[in-house]
Amino acid sequence: MINNTRTSHEIHATPPGDLAIWFFIFAELLAFGVFFVAYAFARAHNVELFNESQQHLNRLSGAINTLVLITSSYFMVRAVAAIKQGYSILCARWIASAIGLGFVFLAIKMAEFHEKFSAGISLSTNTFYMFYLSLTLFHFMHVILGMVILAAIMLKARNGSYSPANHTGVETGASYWHMVDLLWIILFPLVYVIR
């Protein structure tokens, strides 16, 4: 079965994937949004402390992690493309690579946490570190959740449960994973760079 209809100019009524995941995504955006804004206003009350503490962050690992997540996100675009052409195994491989990069992200992040924790830094060190640790930890858990979702979809793809006609599941997982990427794209400059 080959899907040969061009859809490029078609406007869809709903975003790709299950509509339910989109309500979830919007709620998540709201949660992170509140947190980002809280960070900015907390900083406004304590600029010196924030600027000083920010210098001790590992900006390189933050930047590499951005590249990792963006690339992983791109792999999910390829996974969706593959299943639209009916290539189940190829789709599963792209998802596996996306998950693989997820592990790279987690490893780099854990090295960063390890560095901070062994320097005796905790949530109570100061307001900057409170935000740095909680924002990144909260995001960290979302990466894990995203990977779990992707893993479930990968298994289904490998079993041939998706087809060009029926691939909502892949798009649902991809949408969530893009959101995880999207949030980090703001988090990185906000916490690591802007001063």
């Binding site: 309500f23 998540e28 709201l30 509140v34 809280a38």
Partner: protein
């Protein structure tokens, strides 16, 4: 009624309503003591009446949840209950233990009750909502375990729907978090810290799962909307509840000696807690608008819609009002808290139980719905109770704002009692409105005995 064993729900519902009446009577006693301080002195001191009022509330809500589970689960799983006998046995144990505890509260001084019931061995008493003597707490655990065993076995052998799974998860969570009531560290900060693991994680965590499942069940029944649609909503609501509610516990950790970051965590996450309540309202209205059948039980539909709206108002709006740390700094422990407590408990848990009873009780008595006049009466009771809770909430909110203003702001703040004297008028108004509430409750009960008109019999 599709399954014989659903009948065990009936005594649970009857007991729930009976205890509800008791709760309201003690609320009225306390409300009067607020304005006439020595009313019923020394027979029923305020602190005892308060304990009876709140404990009866919790216990009748638990009766309601259990009854609801016994009614829903056989229908959802399409199989008879694992053991109806066990369910009835537990009913009597729970009822007798509950009654003895209340009698204990009223008959002996609390300290004596504590020493009589082994509080020296494992001190667990003396904390709001968890005042029950050790033996009662142990009894609750035993009843809960037997109940969960019964329900879980039923689900295991039958069809597994998302409603029954969410209900089961909520009920297990309820039991697990109750275990923290046995943990009472002598450090006051830690004591409070874990106390909220029971209290907050109940009403803003696992109970919300129960609420969602019960609401979804009633909505499926009265609207005939596809299960798939309802299930999707249920999952999103549950996910949002847990994401916001768990860390949202932090809104109780602002001033009790916990680390400062809780002011941020608590404010941010609990500020998002209204979202799942809002979704529940949208969900309820959406389902009713898409209904595929006209169920004769209009009263139950009204209760279900009311639950969505009032839970959002009481928990969502009134909760948000004082949940940000800079606001809570002023309102903590004032009448604003009591205002929120009343509307949230009523709007979410009282109403969902009344919705379930309203739907299930006629079925248990062999009809699809009560007669037209009976339903009209029930709708009157809906409006009387709901409007009076709204007014009680408004009066208490006004009292609370004035209290904050007089007692905690300005250059010459008044003392606690001096401030109370200034807001006495609102306590009078609250008490009067309380009687209207009682009237509504009486009508609710009466509507089930209304003989006028033809009851709709099962098709």
């Amino acid at each position: 009624m599709q399954f014989q064993s659903q009948a065990v729900a009936k005594p649970y519902f009857i007991a729930a309503i009976g205890l509800f009446v008791g709760q309201i009577l003690f609320g009225l006693i306390m409300g009067y003591q607020y304005v006439v301080g020595d009313f019923l002195f020394p027979a029923i001191p305020f602190n005892v009446a308060r304990m009876v009022h709140t404990n009866l509330l919790i216990v009748w809500l638990l009766f309601g949840f259990m009854g609801a589970a016994y009614y829903m689960i056989p229908e959802e799983t399409e199989t008879e209950l694992f053991s109806p006998k066990l369910a009835l046995l537990m009913f009597w144990i729970f009822l007798v233990a509950g009654a003895l505890t209340i009698v204990g509260y009223l008959m002996v001084p609390y300290a004596t009750l504590a020493s009589m019931t082994g509080n020296d061995i494992l001190p667990t008493m003396g904390r709001e909502f968890l005042e029950q003597p050790l033996i009662t707490k142990v009894g609750i655990v035993i009843v809960a375990l037997a109940f969960l065993f019964n329900i879980s076995m039923t689900v295991l052998k039958g069809r597994k729907t998302s409603i029954s799974l969410v209900m089961l998860l909520g009920l297990w969570g309820l039991a697990v978090f109750f275990l923290f009531s046995f943990y009472n560290p002598s450090n006051l900060v830690l004591d409070k810290y874990f106390w909220w693991w029971t209290v907050h994680l109940w009403v803003e965590g696992v109970w919300e799962l129960i609420l969602g499942a019960m609401l979804a069940f009633v909505l499926i029944k009265v609207t005939g909307v596809d299960r798939e649609v309802i299930e999707k909503w249920l999952y999103i609501i549950i996910a949002m509840t847990l994401i916001t509610g768990i860390i949202g516990t932090g809104h109780h950790y602002f001033w009790i000696g916990t680390p400062e970051y809780w002011q941020w965590f608590g404010s941010v996450f609990s500020a998002l807690e209204p979202i799942p309540f809002f979704m529940m309202t949208v969900f309820a209205f959406n389902m009713v608008n898409r209904r595929r059948r006209e169920h004769p039980n209009k009263a139950a539909t009204l209760w279900a819609l009311g639950t969505g709206v009032m839970a959002f108002l009481g928990a969502g709006v009134w909760g948000f009002l004082h949940t940000l740390a800079p606001v809570n700094f002023f309102t903590h422990g004032t009448q604003v808290t009591a205002a929120h407590g009343h509307m949230a408990f009523y709007g979410a848990y009282v109403m969902v139980n009344l919705a379930m009873i309203s739907y299930a009780m006629p079925m248990l008595r062999g009809r699809t719905a009560n007669s037209g006049p009976a339903q009209t009466m029930e709708m009157w009771s809906f409006w009387l109770m709901t409007v009076s809770i709204v007014f009680i909430t408004l009066f208490l909110t006004a009292a609370g704002i004035l209290q904050v203003w007089l007692q905690r702001m300005g250059s010459t703040p008044l003392g606690f009692m001096a401030a109370q004297d200034q807001i006495m008028i609102f306590y009078w108004l609250r008490e009067i409105t309380g009687f209207v509430f009682l009237l509504g409750l009486v009508l609710y009960i009466w509507s089930f005995f209304c003989k006028k008109g033809e009851a709709q019999t099962a098709a």
